[in-house]
Symmetry: C2
Subunit: 113 residues, 2 copies
């Protein structure tokens, strides 16, 4: 479980991977494998969250790091390339660094007026 908050001052990276319904599950499996075997063990890792679009055409990876530099150090490390290569053969994600500027939660969310 991860928390989104404006107060945590984390570095958030969101990577949107376009895909096709026939490739989506394979892409999800590769990204989850990268999280399990590599990403979660890196210094500064806070959370990793993988989302599968219900239409089959997108996978979104939402990761949080203590500092932006932690993520950048991982990407620069030559040892990580083999973990990302199979993903790159399937799709090119579009990744950006983000700040959370607004976060609000309702009261449980299951209340219907």
């Amino acid at each position: 479980m991860a928390e989104i908050s404006t107060e945590a001052q984390l570095a958030t990276f969101i990577n949107v991977f376009p895909t096709k319904p026939r490739d989506q599950q394979r892409l999800v499996d590769l990204i989850v494998k990268a999280h399990e075997e590599l990403i979660r063990h890196r210094p500064g890792y806070v959370s990793g969250n993988v989302h599968r679009s219900t239409d089959g055409y997108q996978v979104v990876d939402y990761t949080q790091w203590a500092r932006r530099e932690d993520f950048e150090a991982m990407v620069r490390d030559p040892a990580v390339a083999p973990h990302f290569a199979p993903i790159g053969e399937l799709t090119q994600g579009r990744q950006c660094a983000y700040d959370v500027v607004y976060s609000h939660a309702g009261e449980g969310g299951t209340t219907h007026e």
Copy 2:
């Protein structure tokens, strides 16, 4: 504060808005205004989270709903169109519905090896 979890069984909508550095803050302000005045008051709302890319070229809106139908009911409601019109004049977002298929959090995230 919002929580990302595979167990919550929420409907997650992620909307990626392309923008330009000179328009980004105005776009953020309009989206936050829509959350404050409209979205958070709708039935089934769980959370709303707005992200500003550090490069100035993206805004990502990450919302959670109890059920997918709650979001769809909001979009269909003619009363909401005026709230979204100013955003549509600035940019066309790309929105999808998602299921969270993986979520893992480290131990605080600030530990550096």
